[in-house]
Structures are given as C-alpha cells and as structure tokens.
Symmetry: D2
Subunit: 116 residues, 4 copies
C-alpha cells in the first residue's frame, strides 16, 4: 500500500538512529571526553530533516569500567549511551529510544502520536 | 498511540538506510573499487535484523567524473549509488530507495505491504 | 631498516589524521553545530596514544555556503576545517596539519623535533 | 627539523591505518560477509595516495564466536582482522601491521626500507 504519514515519520526516525550509531561508533572515548561527544551527536543529528530532539545520556561509569588503564580510552558503542530521538513529520510526532537489552543496544520505537 | 507492526517495519527500514549511509560515506572510492564496495555494503547491511535485501547500484560514470586525476579517487557519498532496501517484519514487507533528487541523496519510503 | 623513534612518531601522527578524517567525515554539520563537532573531535582524538594536542578550526563561512537552505545542513568533510595535531613519542614531538591544497584536503607533516 | 622522506613515508602509512580502522569499525559483520568486507577494505584503502598494498585477513573463527545467535552478526573492530599495509614514497617502502596485543589491536611500524 501507499505509505502513510505515520509510516514516513517512523522511517525518518529510523534513519536518525542508524545515522547516529554508524557515524559515531568507533570514536575514541573516555569519561573525560564523553560530554563533548554527547553534545556533538545531539547537535549533528538534530541537523537532519524532521529531527526535533536528540538526547544522548552517556553512561560514564560503564565507559570508565571499559577503559584499559594502559590504553586510556575505549571506543564508543551502543552500550555506552542511552539515546532518545523525536521526529516531527506532517504534524505527527514519533519517538524511539536506544537502550541495552540483554547485552545488545536495541533501538525501539515507543510512540507515534497522531494529531488530536 | 502504540506503534503498529507497519510502523515498526518502516522504523527498521530507516535504521538500515541511516546505517548504510553513515557507515560507508567517506570511503575512498574509484571506478575500479566500486564493485567491491557495493558488495560489502550489501552483505554488511543484510546482516542487520529483519533485513531481507539490499541492492547497491554504483554510478561508475559519476564516480569517474568526480575523481581528480592527480589524486586518483574520491569519497563515497550518496550521489554515487542508487540503493534499494527491503525489510521484512512480522509478515509485512517495507521497501525504500535512496536516489538523487535535486542534488540531494533522498531516502524515500516507497511501499509497505500488509499481509494478503 | 629498523624504524627509529622519529619514524614511529610520524607513524603515530598519521594514524591520528586518518582516524579523525574517517571517523567524522559524513557527520551532518551546520554553522550552528560546528563548534560542538570541533570540540568532540579534539577531545576524542586526544584520547589516542601519544596524542598531545588536536586543534580543529571550523570554517564557518564555507559551511554556511555549502548548506542547501532547503536541507539545512551539509556533511563534514576536509574542506570545512583546518586541523593541527601534535604527537609526542619518546621525547620527540611531531606536528602535522590538514589544509586545503588545490581543492583537496591535504595532510602534511610539518615538523619532527628531536630532543635538544 | 625538516621531515625526511622516511618520516613522510611513515606518516602516510599511519594515515592509511587510521583511515582503515575508523572508516570500517562498526560495520555489521558475520562469517558469511567477512570476505566481502575484507575485499572492500583492501581496494578502498589502496586508492589512497602512495598506498601500494593492503592485506586484510579476517579471523573468521573469532567473528563466529562473537556473533550472538539471537542477533546474527557483530560489529567489525580490530580484534577481527590482521592487517598489513605497504606504502611507497619517493623510492622508500614502509610497512606496518595491525595485530592483537594483550587484547588491544595494536598498529605497529615494522620496516622502512631506504633505497639500496
């Protein structure tokens, strides 16, 4: 069938998650640099079409635990941040999160609000 | 509202497009290496959950035209490939493409098929 | 021949430039988000071994000129920043820059200082 | 001091390693897709200036062991490949490898050959 606006909203939302993850996975990260990376991810992805809000909460303790003291950093991956993104499309708002789920950083659509 | 299976299918499809683009944009490419990159993109993204098929058609002439002869390569970006991805989710099939549209590589949802 | 400390210093310096470029090329960028990205690049790459200082000067005017008003952003690439990196290795300091040179973002080794 | 050709050769070699790692880290990978990715990495990086040869040996068993059967893939990172790169610069040949060293994918300069 022809996609609806709600389908297009959730498609756009998925694009943002895939972009966020694959642009920044692998970035050298430490507890000291995590805030800078979170800020950059948020403002970069918010540039994308229909993107209303990106929230990246770095898990500083998990990052510190993963840093080998002899190396001084680790690589950014999904286990080190909780992410929420909100997309607006033709009056609809779609929201999804990335959270750890049984050891895997799962991206999960949580809400699609149609106009009241 | 609670997302439907069709919303989840198109969300998953969006993830694949964002992942594909932001994982591989910036890769050094020439007309000689384009086929290897297309093959790797297809088999990499097909690994992702619910991904049924990824087709990457490299635009060899556009790549050749973009290569500075003094440098010998250019960087992969959306203008150098047409992409189609099909996701299967709970019996639904969702299809989207990336194609150039007024100089911008636009990702566009084209179909969501509900079970007959 | 067996590599010298100066060879190892310049090898390490090259790693930082390749990492910086290929980690962040393709990031959505606008003049509003450029500072966040510059800060994140600096603190991320400074995490890497032997890296003493990374300076990323975003070219805001070039970014603004490249942004299609209908799209609202462009993708980060070498034409949008001047970069300087300093590596310290076994008492040696090696410095290189990335600057535009005839339309190509050229990475250029500028100095290797041996101990006085 | 003014860098020598050997310094420039090893700098160029480092660029290739940083580029390779940070372009492709995070790519979805399985034992079935590993060969395609290895081929694409080799031909992509060989496009870069002064790059004579790139050899990527995927560690298929390590990849299989890392794949969560419920997910079906893992992400490419340094632990899943041994890499050798040879750069030629002004008659010099410089060679380096990436290999695991105490759990860390270490990039190591192994040889700089001056003209006989």
């Amino acid at each position: 069938m022809e996609p609806t606006d709600a389908h297009r909203a959730t498609f756009e939302l998925g694009i943002k998650f895939g972009a966020l993850y694959h642009q920044f996975a692998g970035t050298p990260i430490s507890s000291a640099s995590a805030t800078d990376l979170a800020n950059a991810i948020e403002s970069a992805i918010e540039n994308q079409p229909h993107c209303e809000a990106v929230t990246v909460a770095m898990k500083t303790e998990a990052i510190e635990a993963a840093v080998d003291p002899d190396v001084g950093y680790t690589e950014f991956t999904g286990e080190f941040a909780d992410v929420e993104i909100v997309v607006g499309y033709e009056g609809l708002e779609a929201t999804a999160v990335m959270e750890m789920d049984e050891g895997y950083p799962r991206m999960r659509l949580v809400d699609v609000e149609e106009p009241a």
